[in-house]
């Protein structure tokens, strides 16, 4: 019986279409650089994901029976392809004006466009939930093993053993702890968005939340917590709408019981002591947001970036402040003339450590208007997470984050149209 089941599974495996096999590889393969590009300042090189996308693009030419659709009415991310076209148009203006254009970002836009076509073809309501459930569990297992120093991590710099300095934070099967935090923030919110279609969504959300915490990323954790607070407020608001005396009495009693427990067992002191014993939480508790606000406002008014010696509590704040340096040339270029403010400065910087600064400086006012239009149908809690995480991380430089954002949008589409699409 058991062998029969394995045989059946093997037959099923043989019947898996190559496009789904590619999908699994693109999503699950860790970042492995095939070789490093011989360019100054470029740390990464082509990866297996890139090769798969290239194979997919080439395979479109050789399909005789049932050719894949390049575009269909129910495909998503149409606005983003228009957005890419707009970026291309602005960059033609910049090239004509003899400005530098980073060829790698141009190639990435073309790659993302092919990826959109690929994901639109292969992701549907039958596989999307299975994929994210499996992905959450796999990553959770890897993260926990990494926390206990049982396994190392694979990133763009190769395999790093469990004792490596960079492995103090969990990576999961992703390319960095920052990526883990953001991808699982997106997946956690995706589970909530899919709450009517996904069984045990609370369980998977909990696993995602643990992963977000294990990634030890400050901004994405803050963004995630704020999104969850908004979600709780939405739920509370919905409950209030279904007003009944009985539920109010129950709620009051519950609040009374919880408060009494807190009061009698000195719970808050215990919690506080626990918080202080965790390195990440103790670092988080030391963040002076007013100080950071001052640094940021000072930066935008005078351009001043404090040096290591001038930074208040450098262990806590320096890594946040250090990112301002990557913004500087783009912001100076952006402020130089009015045309830049309208159409941006183009794709000339490979690394800008902020999605928001990247979006504003690279595409200008017109690009931002199109972005705003494109995100109108996206839930607010997701936007809060992306905006806060994007303050000092350029999210979409990572192909995995792009893929999981696509997955969120797909789930959003399925939820909005009652699973009737595709």
């Amino acid at each position: 019986m058991y062998f029969k089941s394995i045989k059946q599974q093997l037959i099923n495996f043989k019947n898996i279409k190559i496009k789904y096999f590619f999908l699994i590889l693109v999503i699950f393969l860790p970042k492995v650089d095939l070789f490093q590009l011989p360019l100054d300042g470029v740390k990464q090189g082509p990866r297996i994901d890139d090769i798969i996308i290239l194979i997919f693009a080439l395979s479109l030419f050789f399909q005789n029976k049932n050719p894949m659709a390049l575009w269909s009415n129910n495909f998503i991310f149409k606005n983003w392809i228009i957005f890419f076209c707009l970026i291309m148009f602005f960059n033609i203006i910049h090239v004509i004006n003899h400005k530098n254009l980073n060829l790698l970002i141009l190639l990435r836009i073309i790659e993302y466009t092919i990826l959109i076509i690929f994901l639109n073809n292969v992701l549907d309501k039958n596989n999307i939930y299975k994929i994210i459930k499996f992905y959450i569990i796999i990553n959770f297992i890897f993260s926990v093993l990494q926390v206990f120093n049982l396994i190392g991590s694979i990133s763009s710099i190769g395999y790093l053993g469990p004792d490596h300095l960079l492995n103090q934070r969990s990576y999961g099967i992703l390319g960095g702890s920052w990526e883990l935090g953001i991808v699982f923030g997106i997946l956690g919110l995706a589970c909530f968005r899919a709450r009517y279609d996904m069984k045990n969504y609370l369980f998977y959300m909990t696993l995602c939340s643990i992963n977000v915490f294990l990634a030890y990323g400050i901004t994405n954790l803050i963004g995630y917590v704020l999104s969850i607070i908004l979600i709780l407020l939405i739920i509370l608001f919905n409950k209030i709408k279904k007003f009944s005396i009985k539920s109010i009495i129950y709620s009051l009693m519950l609040i009374l019981i919880i408060s009494s427990i807190f009061y009698f067992i000195n719970f808050h002191t215990n919690i506080y002591n626990k918080i202080l014993s965790n390195d990440f939480l103790s670092r988080l508790s030391k963040i002076d947001f007013l100080y950071l606000w001052d640094v940021y406002t000072n930066y935008f008014t005078t351009g001043y970036i404090p040096e290591l010696n001038d930074v208040k509590d450098p262990l806590t704040h320096y890594s946040i402040i250090l990112r301002l340096e990557t913004w500087q040339s783009s912001i100076l270029e952006f402020q130089k003339n009015n045309i830049s403010k309208f159409i941006g400065i183009g794709l000339n910087e490979l690394y800008i450590e902020s999605l928001i600064v990247r979006a504003i400086t690279a595409t200008g006012l017109i690009g931002c208007i199109l972005i705003f239009y494109s995100i109108l149908g996206v839930p607010l809690y997701f936007l809060i997470f992306i905006i806060i995480s994007g303050i000092n991380i350029d999210l979409y430089v990572s192909i995995k984050i792009f893929i999981f954002t696509f997955i969120f949008f797909k789930i959003n589409q399925l939820a909005r149209h009652g699973n009737n699409i595709i």
């Binding site: 050719p67 575009w71 076209c85 291309m88 090239v95 003899h98 351009g303 340096e325 100076l332």
Partner: protein, 239 residues
């Protein structure tokens, strides 16, 4: 409605052949033409001025801060917002930085530089800045030399006064202090002539081109790829 690659390519190359032809003409015909005739290269060239705070000149406390002060001065005398900016350097606009680039300024040219005049103009401006810096250093140094000479004079006057008043002067102290002052004057005068006669080491000027002038063919190919991308997206999205 769905569109496949075959249909898209058919629309791209056959049905939309006019648009494709226009893209080709614009990328490889019109663009090279306008590039050769109408391009304004202003802002492309700039001088990167970097100061070195570890030179022999910096070991003199009198002019130790001069390079840093000069960077501020350079920004002030070339500022586009000021009508009284330096006439020799009026075709430059220097911008300073904070953070890791605080010892640097970028000076952009506000003149049209091209292959025929680039080398000459750049050299001219480098010389002008070096000359201005030299003058600034000398101007900073002169008051110190004057002050030391003043001290010698005061000491002599004091000596004469003591003689007139019949006070027996402390010759040892007198010669010692005069010797010290003279030595200081000599040192500063040596520094003065050193600055005047030699090329400065504390100010390094490098000519850079902000946008490396890629050859026309490269730009044409880029424009062709981007226009084709836009057209292809148009074909697949509007069908």
């Amino acid at each position: 409605m769905e569109i496949t690659l075959f249909e898209a390519l058919k629309k791209f190359f056959i049905k939309g052949k006019l648009i494709f032809l226009l893209i080709l003409i614009f990328s490889f015909g019109v663009y090279p033409l306008i590039e050769s005739n109408y391009f304004d290269y202003k802002d492309n060239d700039y001088l990167l001025i970097r100061i070195d705070t570890n030179t022999i000149e910096s070991s003199y406390p009198e002019i130790k801060e001069t390079p840093i002060e000069y960077l501020d001065r350079l920004q002030t005398i070339t500022s586009r917002n000021k009508s009284d900016r330096n006439q020799d350097l009026r075709k430059l606009d220097c911008r300073g930085f904070v953070g890791p680039r605080k010892y640097e300024v970028d000076c952009y040219f506000f003149i049209k530089l091209n292959k025929s005049n680039r080398a000459e103009e750049v050299e001219n401006y480098i010389n002008l800045i070096k000359e201005d810096y030299k003058n600034y250093q000398l101007k900073t140094l002169l008051p110190f030399i004057k002050k030391e000479k003043e001290k010698v004079k005061v000491r002599y006057d004091e000596f004469k006064w003591q003689e007139e008043m019949g006070i027996d002067p402390n010759m040892m102290h007198f010669y010692d202090s005069i010797f010290n002052f003279r030595r200081e004057i000599k040192l500063l005068e040596n520094l003065y002539s050193h600055i005047k006669n030699n090329d400065t080491k504390s100010l390094m000027i490098t000519h850079k081109i902000l946008n490396i002038e890629k050859d026309t063919l490269y730009n044409s190919i880029l424009i062709f790829i981007m226009l084709s991308f836009i057209n292809f997206c148009r074909v697949i999205l509007i069908n």
